[in-house]
Symmetry: C2
């Protein structure tokens, strides 16, 4: 095993968009989980139920998720794409595709033999006005991690206004906990913990309202298969007891609750303001610098949480330079590998780390 | 949170069949994973591929899994039931049901709208001779965790002999790494890591041969949906690169490889002999004791790895007595709660802990 590489990585400031560098308190909470016997708890025990409830309550409080919405745990956000289609679509879904991850959700619907429609924008761009669609489910990535495009919340809410009968499902994998949604305008939101929450991968969080629950129940009543342990009715039945359908990644559920509590103590308002500050100074430097423009040119769509530089043919030289300064940038994603560098701006990235990054870029 | 309960539990010897007490080295390996930056590794990086390969090789060596069989990672064994049916069944599956977990697999097939057949034995019992079945997939639990029944390997191999064209899928959730299978007689075997491997829950291992791969490919070629990221073709495509389809529970994959390496160093033969010794002394004491008979009466079916006592109306008194001795027994499962106590006999349970258990039972 390449130990040297990994030790070196560990000493660097890591701006990869995920798995992200860890949130400051994650290692301690993991150690405490072991000390308290969490790994060996039965998921049908009172002690586990208390952990589940704690995590639910602190996540709900941190993100201001109203009681109209349930929170369930999956193994990844990738799994959630499959579960959304299984549970919520009889025939037709529509997908706003402007990068690799919104594209993957569209592909999932096709793999499950749905009639899936794509509304496409070029990588790095957003969409024109919300349109009316004849569909059961609308998939949209609030923050497209592959290219650093964040769609305005008003565009997303506009989709709901134009399509009140479709279930609006929002990928917030790399924008939560930063983004402050009006959940009354969204039927489902989801994320995985290795991005903004700075945890090891292995857990996804799936937020769904009662309209989703009813749709899944209606499919089930019609005898359509909606999956097994991770169907919405199965989640709800177990969730009402503060339990999970299967033996879950209990350590991750424990740590997520603790991290949500820590972030709330620091202040979600503070975290959001710091995120905005860090985004402003990095975009400012990229704009100013000759040869390192941001990939997303239109400020309307510049993501605060995943900031993508477009150094083109200078990419390798730039990455090597940063690496010598102790800074690991994320590679460009997919077709943009070798032409982009991505910088995550998550709560685990301190203002000081961003200032170091900006100073280093300035000196390049 | 009930801290006291959990601290107390942690000081006790825990015989619950899972999540089990941790294998001796798991906490250290987890700490090392954090120290080496495993939680933040990209699952498309060389460093992750090295971990994946290490885990595959050491698991394969420990269990003597031939190269005819692939090893893939899921989030749980519960997930594997769904993936087996999705990938391997067009219309019909047959399930040997003799307890709660073999029953669950049967229910999964029905939930996915398959024509599922059950061959039922009473809880605590095995099955008569292997029979010929007109089916695509045969599900059988080598070790039924709910009741402590282990089926003879010859019965399982006999099913394959009688049904060469059906895919034989064996639940070994609570019998691996103890059981030494002839994999040439089995198409798929699966387990989750929180039983015999003594790890925190959140990872399943799915072992499949090329006959399974071909069946999944044939379903796909016919345009039948076989799932998305966790379809067998998706696993294979990524697995050939030592990668996973989605961002996985990488810390668990790392720790599993280390635990397999540790167990091999201790000697799988030694572990198996110790397991047999521990089973013998506990069954002997249960047989000898008036009022605490083993639930499984027929020695042919007595599981070495999950040993179930049937104290009936004395159950609560017996559990309380053991608890005062620092021993936590597993509760009876489902309908047997309150009438059974279950004792896991995994590699994490030392001979000394079993001797303490037997001595304590003797004094009851």
């Amino acid at each position: 095993m390449p130990h040297e590489t990994r030790f070196q990585k560990n000493m660097m400031v890591d701006f990869s968009p995920g798995p992200s560098q860890l949130y400051f308190t994650v290692e301690d909470h993991t150690r405490n989980a072991f000390r308290q016997g969490v790994p060996s708890l039965s998921h049908r025990s009172r002690a586990f139920e208390a952990i589940y409830q704690h995590t639910q309550e602190h996540l709900r409080a941190l993100l201001s998720i109203p009681t109209t919405h349930h929170i369930f745990f999956t193994s990844s956000a990738t799994e959630i794409w499959e579960r959304l289609v299984q549970n919520l679509v009889v025939e037709h879904s529509a997908h706003f595709v402007n990068g690799a991850f919104s594209e993957k959700f569209y592909q999932v619907a096709k793999q499950l033999n749905k009639s899936a429609q794509e509304i496409r924008a070029a990588d790095g761009e957003g969409f024109a006005l919300p349109v009316k669609l004849n569909t059961e489910l609308i998939g949209v990535a609030h923050n497209e991690t592959s290219t650093g495009v964040a769609l305005p919340k008003e565009f997303i809410y506009g989709l709901k206004d134009k399509n009140p009968h479709a279930l609006l499902c929002v990928d917030a994998v790399s924008s939560l906990p930063f983004v402050d949604f009006d959940y009354s305008k969204i039927d489902s939101v989801y994320f995985s913990v290795q991005k903004g929450f700075g945890m090891p991968p292995g857990l996804g969080a799936w937020i769904v309202n009662d309209a989703c629950m009813e749709k899944a129940a209606s499919l089930q009543a019609r005898g359509l298969p909606i999956g097994t342990h991770h169907s919405l009715p199965s989640y709800l039945k177990n969730g009402l007891k503060n339990q999970t359908p299967e033996t879950p990644n209990s350590v991750a559920i424990y740590v997520l609750g603790k991290v949500a509590e820590d972030m709330a103590r620091r202040g979600i308002g503070t975290i959001r303001k710091e995120t905005e500050y860090k985004a402003v100074i990095l975009y400012h430097e990229l704009q100013r610098h000759p040869g390192l423009p941001p990939f997303v040119q239109d400020k309307t769509y510049q993501s605060p949480t995943v900031i993508v530089a477009n150094p083109g043919r200078q990419t390798e030289k730039f990455a090597t330079y940063l690496s010598k300064k102790g800074i690991k940038a994320g590679e460009g994603y997919g077709v943009h590998k070798g032409a982009h560098l991505r910088f995550a701006n998550f709560p685990a990235h301190s203002k000081e780390q961003f200032e170091l990054l900006v100073d280093s870029i300035q000196a390049f």
